[in-house]
Structure formats: C-alpha cells, structure tokens
Symmetry: C2
Subunit: 353 residues, 2 copies
C-alpha cells in the first residue's frame, strides 16, 4: 500500500529551507516509501535538494513566493495564506494532493489557517494541539491541549481525551491507552467544574471507549511513565509543557555549573560522559519533535521552529505514522462509539445555567 | 526588640511530633531570639523536648487532644477545629498569643481554618498560597497562588501581585521586586480575559507600586532568575509548581539511571560527586520549605508534610522573617498606595457584564 504524500512547508522555522529538506531526506532514508510535496521558493528548494538525489526523485516542488513570518498575527496570516508556503501546504491536504502537512512556522498562524481550510471533524467542537513528552516508562506520554484553546468546557475535554487516546494508540502501540485528566489533586472534589464534569462523563462512558480511564493526575506525575495521555485545557497544558521544558533546562544548567566548578568535577564529567549523554539524548527536544493538530479533516503537524534535521525527520516520521494508522478515522469511530447521549450532557447543563 | 512567639502545630505532617520539635530546635539554635508555643499532645511534645533543653526553656506547651488528619475534608476539619492542634495554633494567632502559626498538616484544612479564624485583610478579597522556588539567579522566586483559588478574576490577580511583591521584598531583599504574570505567550493579546485585564491594571498603576512590573512571563522562564514574583491563578500555579517539582525529580532519576548504567559511569559519578551534591542541595525541597498564606490578618505558614527537621527549620525561619519585616503591614501600605480607583476597575466591568 502506498502512503499518501506529505506536504512540507519548506519556508517555515528559524533554521531555513535547508534544515527542512535535510530532515525530509533523513526521514525518507529510513522509510523509502515516503513521498513529498515540497512547498516554497523553488530555487532555494532545488539548491537544498542537490545533496539529496533520492529525496528529489520522490518529491514534487510546489513553488510559492509568500512566507508567513514568525511575528505575524493569525488574523493577518489568514488573509495572505493563499500565496504562502504554509497556506499552500495545507491547501494541498484539503484538495487531496497530500495526506498531511508539516510546518515549522508560526504556530498561531498554522492553527488558524488549518482550522479555516480543513474545518473540524464531525463530532469535534474544537481541534487541539498534542505533543509527546519523555517519561521514565517504556513510552512517551501524549499531552493535549497545549495552547490551541485557552478556555475549555467539559465537552471539549472529553473530546480531547478521545483524540489523545487515538494518538497514543499510534504512538505507543497500546490498544487501551491509560488516559487521565490533569487536576490539582487526585480527589474527585478538587478542581474546576469543567474537569469534574469531564471526569464524570468519561467514567460513565468508560466501557464504550478504547481507553483505560482512571480519573485525575497531577502535574508532577506527567513524566513518571504511569499514564499515556494527559488531558487538559490549553492554558494549563501550555503552562505544564513549558514548566517541564524549562525545568529540564534548569537542571541541566545547574549540572553543567556543578561539573565545571572544580578540576575534580571536570574529570568526573569526562569519565561519566556516557551517563550524561544518555540524559542529553533523553531530554533533547528534537527526539520528541512534532506536535499534532488533532480534530481537523486532515493531519497537520507542527515541527519546532528551532528543530534540527533530526528533529524535522522525527516530525515527518510522526506524520507518516498518523497517516499509516488512519488516526482521523480512528477518532471518528471512537466518537461514534461514545454516542451522542453522553456527549450532549454538558450542553444541557449550559442551557439550564 | 523581641519577636512575637511562633505557634507550632506539633501534630501535623507525615513525620510526627519529633521532626517538628527537632526543626524548631534547629531554627532556635540559629536565631536564639525565637520563642515558641508548641501545640499538641503534651506527653509526646515533652518527650521530644528532652534532647532540646534550650528549646524547652524558650517554649510554652499548649496541650490539645485532637489532630486533623491528612485525608479530612476542609468542611469536616472546620467543624472540629476548636479541639485540634491546628485549630489551637491558629487561634493563638487570632488571640495575639502568638505572631504566626506553622503547620505541616492538611493544606486544605489549614487554609479553611485560617481563613475562617483570621479573616482576610482589609482590601484583599481572597488569600493566596505563595512559595519560594529555586532559580539560576541570586535569589529564589516567589510564585502565587499555588492552589488556594482554582479560579481568579483580574482583581484577585492584582492583589496577588501586591502580596507577592511584599513577600519577595522580605525573601530577596530587593526593594522593587520584578513582578510578572504567568501567561502562555509574552504578547499582550495572548491568554484569558483575566490575565489581560490584570496586566492592564498593573501597567496603569506601576508608578505607585513598590514593584517593577513588566507584563507576562511563560512557565519555562520561572526558574531562570530573571523574575522575583510569578503571579497566577491557583489552578495554573499548582500545575506549574508540580510540573517543576516532578521534572526536577524526573531528571534526577534519569541521571541516577545513567550513572548506574556502567562501571565507567559509576566511577565518574564518585569522582564528580561534589558537582551532583551541589545539584542535590539546590533542588532539595527542604531548602525551599515553607509556603505562606498571604492576605490574612496574621501569618500562617505551611511546612511540607514530608519535610525533615532542616526543612521545618527553614519554614520557621521564613515565618520569623515575615514577622520581623511586618509583611502584613507592608501589604496594607501597598494596597493603600494602589488606591481604590484602580482596583475598582474590574468590579465595574463585572457589573456591566
């Protein structure tokens, strides 16, 4: 079975065209079935392709002049999307010329353009941004939403749980991913009305869902490897994600400071290098690169703006796995299984409020 | 000048009476002006005091039978507070028999009892829980609220900023602490209405406040040492705090795993031990123990349930500093300087909504 093509916005990201093309080439070297639509400035793409004849052979170039900048507001980006590499990459998904799009550009703009062009899936009110984080366990953990929706009701959170579970099945291989809602205590009385309503709905529907749902988790447990999906609103999710990233960097900086504080420590550092390299590898954001917009009629993956070629290759590999496993269809099937009655609950509450 | 007494709830915490008494003794050894009111089971307190004659000489014991358990709901704890060590320690502050209370017991119960007994300060709508976190800079950072209020309006956030700044002046010695609001982006268009309104009010009042206010910060910057106070609602604050704690432990666990992965790494670990000890010391929660309930008519400090004697001593030292520096009066003065007009703003919005 041949895989649908992957559209690459070659112009996004801080590192320029070359890192996107190098990344695509690296991903293709590992999985030679991948085919690409490279969107952006034709001259620069061709120049970057010179060192990658195999990628060149399995790619088509779609020339565009415009580029969405990192500072552009989503509303402004929406207006000029048509003539830009980001807009064209997403349009290719909409028209069926590609199965998915990958961009390292402006996240807000990408989200806005993808939402307007691809529209949300039937049964989903709002798409969410999901990413993989490292854990002490055997697999990464999926966390969502990471900032697409600053405020969420219980209905949104339940839909995020379904989408997160579908993604985790692809990412971890577990048929019944362990799903939890993020809260500020594990008791059911804690937290906002939204999380308490969501936990009640998910508990009620648990037997129909392809997930193992077990209530709340707290932010200190995200990376313990005991959970496969952490569900939360976009504000808390963004705070948690950045706190994890910032603290990992903080501890690494402290360690660096410690290791360079004396000759003895420097020598110890050189000897124990394999240990610290292991840590570095485990925490390197490039190894977890590729955040996914879930809930749209099509797959859109955000590569980190500062990712290197290995990071871009990871984002492309994530995209390919989502295509191979038909994640969008899996979400549709799960939503159907959830049934209308359970999901309508919070809406009734809203009306009576 | 003699310092008011500090009431110690000797029965709270996972580690029992002895760790609270050992901690108080340790704090007293460093600062011999401290005087204590030790509240709890007299027999067990006396037994723990046997090895601390100096502490015994500067303490009075207030016998109580009841103890609030860790699992007790705040509503239930409130009803039986009168006969418990936690309730009596707080009552001592209310009656002026002590200047402050320290407890390692149930946080929710402590908050509820303290709020009902001491009442919020004039000008403060809701008290907040604040703690110190380690940074790469010269001083710790104050973060609040950490879970006392799951949902906050802009008026609450502005008051938290004023209280956090007063605490940071005591904790860091800076006359104009650098205050920021936690958000999911640094641009003023990001985030919820509450944080955007709060930033507008604080910007408008900046020249009247004893703080250096500079808009938003993100959760990955909390520990960089560039900010002295991070202000947020109790849900996000709790998520951020626990994500920081969990990630620090996660990285330490990974490092331990790396160091024990081979003989070479084990040898390197032994040689570079001073470096890792430095890290351990920096991240040890006992060195940052002592979360403060700000905004009440009296000082109440929460020691971590699992803190050791050194941790309890830190919480006692924090309490003493807050007493010495009259933090409650400083907050009153700052609120007065803020003026009624600015703080009334969000209330007007609420009425028109």
């Amino acid at each position: 079975m041949s895989l649908p093509r992957i559209a690459i916005d070659a112009m996004g990201g801080d590192e320029g065209v070359r890192v996107m093309i190098d990344g695509a080439a690296l991903a293709r070297r590992r999985h030679d079935r991948f085919k690409f639509l490279l969107v952006g400035d034709e001259t620069r793409i061709k120049s970057a392709l010179e060192s990658h004849p195999n990628l060149r052979a399995s790619s088509e170039i779609l020339h565009t002049e415009g580029v969405i900048s990192g500072e552009e507001k989503p509303s402004q980006a929406l207006r000029r999307a048509k003539g830009t590499s980001m807009g064209k990459a997403i349009e290719a998904v909409k028209l069926g010329h590609a199965g998915a799009a990958v961009s390292a550009g402006n996240t807000g703009a990408l989200m806005a353009i993808a939402k307007l062009s691809l529209r949300t899936m039937p049964g989903i009110d709002r798409p969410a941004l999901a990413a993989l984080l490292p854990t002490l366990g055997d697999n990464d953990v999926v966390m969502l939403d990471l900032g697409a929706n600053t405020e969420c009701d219980s209905r949104n959170l339940v839909q995020f749980a379904v989408m997160g579970a579908a993604y985790a099945r692809v990412a971890t291989g577990r048929e019944q991913p362990r799903v939890r809602l993020l809260n500020i205590g594990s008791e059911e009385i804690k937290g906002t009305d939204e999380v308490r309503d969501a936990v009640a709905i998910l508990r009620g529907a648990a037997s129909d869902l392809s997930m193992s749902f077990d209530g709340f988790t707290e932010a200190d447990k995200i990376c313990r490897g005991e959970v496969d999906v952490v569900v939360t609103d976009g504000f808390s999710g963004n705070v948690a994600l950045k706190a994890v990233e910032g603290t990992a960097r903080f501890v690494a900086d402290l360690l660096k400071r410690g290791f360079s504080s004396s000759l003895r420590s420097k020598i110890g550092f050189l000897i124990s290098r394999p240990a610290t390299e292991l840590l570095k590898h485990h925490l390197d954001p490039n190894n977890h690169n590729g955040a996914v917009f879930l809930g749209l009629n099509g797959i859109v993956v955000k590569s980190h703006g500062s990712a290197n070629a290995a990071g871009v290759a990871n984002a492309v590999a994530v995209t390919a796995r989502l295509l191979e496993e038909n994640v969008t269809e899996r979400i549709t099937a799960d939503l159907a299984r959830l049934g209308g009655s359970t999901l309508r609950m919070p809406r009734v509450q809203e009306e009576s409020a």
